[in-house]
Symmetry: C2
């Protein structure tokens, strides 16, 4: 039986997972979906990425969708979707805080660790951004 | 090290998986991502769904993106993205073929099984469609 998740249940799912699928819209109106690691905190989804198609697309059109799920079987799953807007993080204090959090959450992410320990700023090629969440919906089958 | 997957490797990943994330664009230009079960065959992604936001969105704007992945760890994963266009399946012969395939691939999907055995047409509320694939890209880290 398919049911809606409450806001609390949807937020719990967003907190539990570490891989999301990020949807954005390419120039020309084509949807684009990529897997990302993320951090859900204070109404934001924080993401770090190498430059590329998704960052270019989000800079041009900030509308974003973050989908996470926990699929145990065909008939037992939860899925949550957060809709929001892309904001690039460039402020030094915010960057530092973000990198510490990311390192805490994903301790195996060596490039970020290296940055924090030795350089105190992200490598030139890394883009840090967040999705400012406007609304969250969730669905489950159980 | 992040590398491109070849067309063959990307198609292999599409063939292996059974859960994809379907991206489409809502009215107002907002991206929308949902998990779906699918069948990859003859250059198409076949999907069945209850009516709802994704079907309404795809009927209005047929541009679609199908993303699949196999994530073993932060540093060992494959992801493929197929871009294409939504086509609703309404022809009786195509529907029958599609339902047989779906049943073969997902034998536990009781509703579809019931349809095939007892009614020979999908329940009124079920929507069957395919994404006509225009291009496929893939990425891996290993």
């Amino acid at each position: 039986m398919i049911e809606k998740l409450s806001q609390e249940e949807s937020q719990k799912l967003l907190s539990e997972q570490c891989v999301a699928r990020l949807g954005c819209v390419l120039e020309g109106g084509e949807p684009y979906v990529v897997p990302v690691n993320y951090l859900f905190k204070d109404g934001f989804i924080f993401i770090h990425s190498l430059p590329g198609l998704k960052v270019e697309a989000l800079r041009a059109n900030p509308k974003a969708c973050i989908q996470v799920d926990d699929i145990k079987s065909f008939f037992e799953w939860r899925s949550a979707i957060a809709f929001g807007e892309f904001e690039e993080i460039t402020d030094a204090t915010e960057l530092e805080e973000f990198l510490s959090e990311i390192m805490f959450r994903f301790p195996k992410l060596t490039p970020v660790e290296t940055v924090i320990n030795h350089e105190e700023s992200p490598p030139a090629e890394m883009v840090l951004f967040r999705i400012r969440i406007k609304r969250i919906t969730g669905t489950t089958e159980r």
